[in-house]
Symmetry: C2
Subunit: 107 residues, 2 copies
DNA sequence: CGGAATCCCCCATGATACTG
DNA sequence: CAGTATCATGGGGGATTCCG
């Protein structure tokens, strides 16, 4: 149970560690969008059809905390907030591209 | 809600389609193991620390139904069942390798 | 516009016991 | 050994409302 997971905070397997970062139903799709360039909150919300604002915020905060995206707030009215991938986030491009290629060939 | 998802059974995005296949908390780790070669049920159960037999069965059945793994039963006593990746499953190696490389460099 | 605050719920997963 | 059967659960995600 949870005890087992907590005593191995840093599993040896690099795949497991990577999965812990891009976990979540929407996370990889957020990365897909941001790999195309900086996006505003509303742009992501529109592109990710069906996502709730709560979930989008939750996922973006997680990614931010893990150093995958940066969040820049522009003190304007109406407010503007932009999300951009960090180097760490851009490096995940290989994963997303691999998924896209496989999906194109096999699904 | 679900209605929206059902009217687009085959989303255009290849990333989404790929994610639909490797969905689940354990699925990618199962693929990681099978990429190293054929494995028996018990071997997978041991390697995937913490997984319940029910969940392992569920995930393997899903992967089988989607043509990612093949299940071979040997009519012996005690029974032996081996799981092997199909071509479609082996093609997912690129995804797993991309995850492993990213995990090694950034986590 | 970009959230925060609440409340709620489903379903993948877990725990456990049993069997051919 | 490789599952099935059953029941319990919890937390990620959804729906809605409100705010600066």
């Amino acid at each position: 149970m949870n005890f087992d997971k907590q005593i191995q905070e840093r599993p040896e397997c690099t795949v497991e560690r990577a999965l812990a970062v891009i976990d979540g139903k929407w996370t990889t799709l957020i990365l897909r969008d941001l790999l195309a360039g900086t996006r505003r909150f509303g742009e992501l919300r529109t592109s990710l059809t069906g996502i709730s604002p709560k979930t989008l915020t939750d996922r973006l905060r997680d990614l931010e905390r893990q150093g995958v995206v940066t969040r820049v707030v522009f003190p304007e009215i109406p407010p503007r907030v932009e999300y951009t991938l960090t180097d760490k986030g851009r490096a995940l491009g290989n994963v997303v591209y691999a998924l896209a290629e496989w999906g194109a060939e096999w699904t």
